[in-house]
Subunit: 356 residues, 2 copies
């Protein structure tokens, strides 16, 4: 029964995040978390911020954090918006930049939260099929839409597009906003952040959950022309004036300032991804080119669900979707080297191949 | 210019929170913060939670925190919903329970975020005037509406209604949701939390920002029948799966478990409120009966703005609204005894009266 539910929400089908098992010893390669702990400077900043000032509201503008992010990206603070994870930032973007009756477009295979946001705000949308190898048919995204949403690199495939393609999308859609979701960009794709000053219709979103090992702190942000950031602030200030608590602001800022930790950690994840991809290919897996902290793979002749279930029995969680075109595929987050050795051994067992 | 802004938001007028001065030595009585630091158990729990597990997503269901809140309120965990401050929880309630074309009603003088939420979701509303002394004309809220929203105690007046009145509202509006915003209830009003099991159309919202001294941590919650909580989860999971970070969940739970700190702190604030109200009345102020951690006062013959400006010149911030019916009034948060002594002295100067 849905008595008392608003007409707005009766037909909504919420997003389902990957499983978060509690209190179990599992190798968790299902939600693209970073296998390494965050910077020590972050933990120290958090402990420092756990003081009596928690009685006071946080800075509603997250001024100091936005200044640090602006410096990191060579932008101005008024070109930066922060929120409670990039999921919140994305939701506010859908509300702020797209208009009912003018369908927004995104690929048929991409982050499955996008159609959920559309349902949340009554926003029309149209899914445009990726090519057979999951590459983006850029020409099909040029014009005739109410906005473009693109994950770069894409999830769950890991495939990236070039900045040249992003420029083509921006110039081919000058009347509408092009939203580039860069949740995974630090692991090897070219960021459109450097284009923010050049295109008034570009929004880039980012998260600290992946490359900065802060999924547990819930900090995301957007980079865009000041006019678009003002729109996000208009929505934010009509929803929740204080999206980031004092600790999240302090911890996120410490993370942005620790470049050495960031570069070192990203390099480790990329190194592990590369040898894992090689190994799986040698075992007979088809592996999508990945610029992210996960691999999208399939083994010819074995159903994705069979592999997922077999891995689960061996204590390894990966992500699988019961959806057209990708039901044979698994998305596997990059863990530590030891995690990936265990993964390769388990997959060798399941496919009857040698693991090296 | 609002190029690229959604048609949804072009006419929005965001909420304006009270000023959060940074780096200044002021007596801050403008945003109803608690003058006392949070429980030491909270700070300890936060420091403990600042560890390597921040690389992992938080529990999207905040299970442990919801269990603690359920125990505190003698309810079941499925009757509890938590969010990123009660502002977020309220926003999700407006989206989940009210429907365009069926106007929701609330008093003309109340929390000024309510009409902003309505604009955010295209929700019709009707403001019903409070009586001249700011009491609630309960009979005008019985039926003929798409929902009722009531702050109890009310802000900015501090006036509370009885549980008998709440029951009348619930029984007079059996087809729609009655939302009771109890942000300030711990300072002396009767909570409707105990009615949750009896009325399927009741939602009670709470915040940890005031009575628990955790404005800086951003934790709010709702108590309601499981069916209504399911509606909130539907919206939440279509917006942001992980509204509370790991630290906020840990700190909030520690707060709920420290009953001694809670009772002691609330008692101190109430004691300070009572002597301050007495003192101001003896000085000639009109003081609304307050069940909250603030006082709503005016001085006959002196404009509210004049008093606010005079206090500001003396380093004391209070809240004033340039709005019909309340432009002569100030809302003054309850600080420490020393803060309130300073306030009384400054007001005595400004009104030419004796401060004791």
């Amino acid at each position: 029964m849905k008595e008392f539910w608003s007409a707005r929400i009766r037909d909504m089908v919420p997003y389902v995040p990957g499983e978060q098992p509690r209190g179990k010893k599992l190798i968790k390669l299902n939600t693209n978390e970073n296998p390494y702990p965050p910077s020590r400077a972050v933990l120290e900043a958090l402990r420092q911020a756990a003081d009596g000032d928690l009685r006071l509201y946080p800075d509603p503008e997250s001024t100091s954090l936005r200044q640090a992010l602006a410096a990191f990206h060579d932008l101005r603070p008024e070109q930066v918006f922060v929120g409670n994870g990039s999921d919140e930032v994305l939701a506010l973007c859908f509300q702020a930049f797209f208009t009912p009756g003018r369908p927004v477009v995104f690929p048929d295979i991409t982050y499955s939260f996008y159609p959920v946001y559309c349902a949340l705000y009554g926003q029309d949308y149209r899914e445009i099929p990726l090519d057979g190898d999951f590459t983006l048919p850029v020409e099909k995204f040029l014009g005739g839409n109410g906005g473009v949403v693109l994950a770069n690199p894409n999830a769950p495939t890991g495939r990236a597009v070039s900045l040249q393609d992003i420029r083509a999308l921006l110039e081919g859609n000058p009347e509408v906003v092009v939203l580039v979701d860069e949740a995974y960009v630090d692991f090897g794709a070219a960021s459109a952040a450097e284009l923010v000053g050049q295109y008034p219709n570009l929004v880039v979103t980012r998260t600290m959950s992946k490359s900065r090992s802060l999924a547990g702190l819930r900090v995301g942000y957007a980079l865009a022309d000041g006019n678009l950031i003002a729109a996000l602030n208009c929505v934010k200030n009509s929803f929740n004036s204080y999206p980031l608590d004092r600790l999240a602001q302090a911890g996120a800022e410490a993370s942005v300032r620790d470049r050495a930790w960031f570069e070192d950690t990203v390099a480790k994840v990329i190194h592990t991804r590369e040898w894992t991809a090689d190994r799986l290919e040698r075992m007979g897996f088809q592996v999508c080119d990945s610029s992210a902290n996960f691999l999208f793979v399939r083994y010819p002749g074995v159903a994705g669900r069979t592999l997922m279930d077999g891995l689960r029995q061996r204590g390894i969680l990966v992500r699988w979707w019961d959806r057209p075109r990708i039901a044979d595929w698994l998305r596997i987050s990059i863990g530590t080297d030891a995690d990936m050795e265990a993964l390769c051994a388990a997959l060798a067992e399941l496919t009857g191949t040698a693991a090296n």
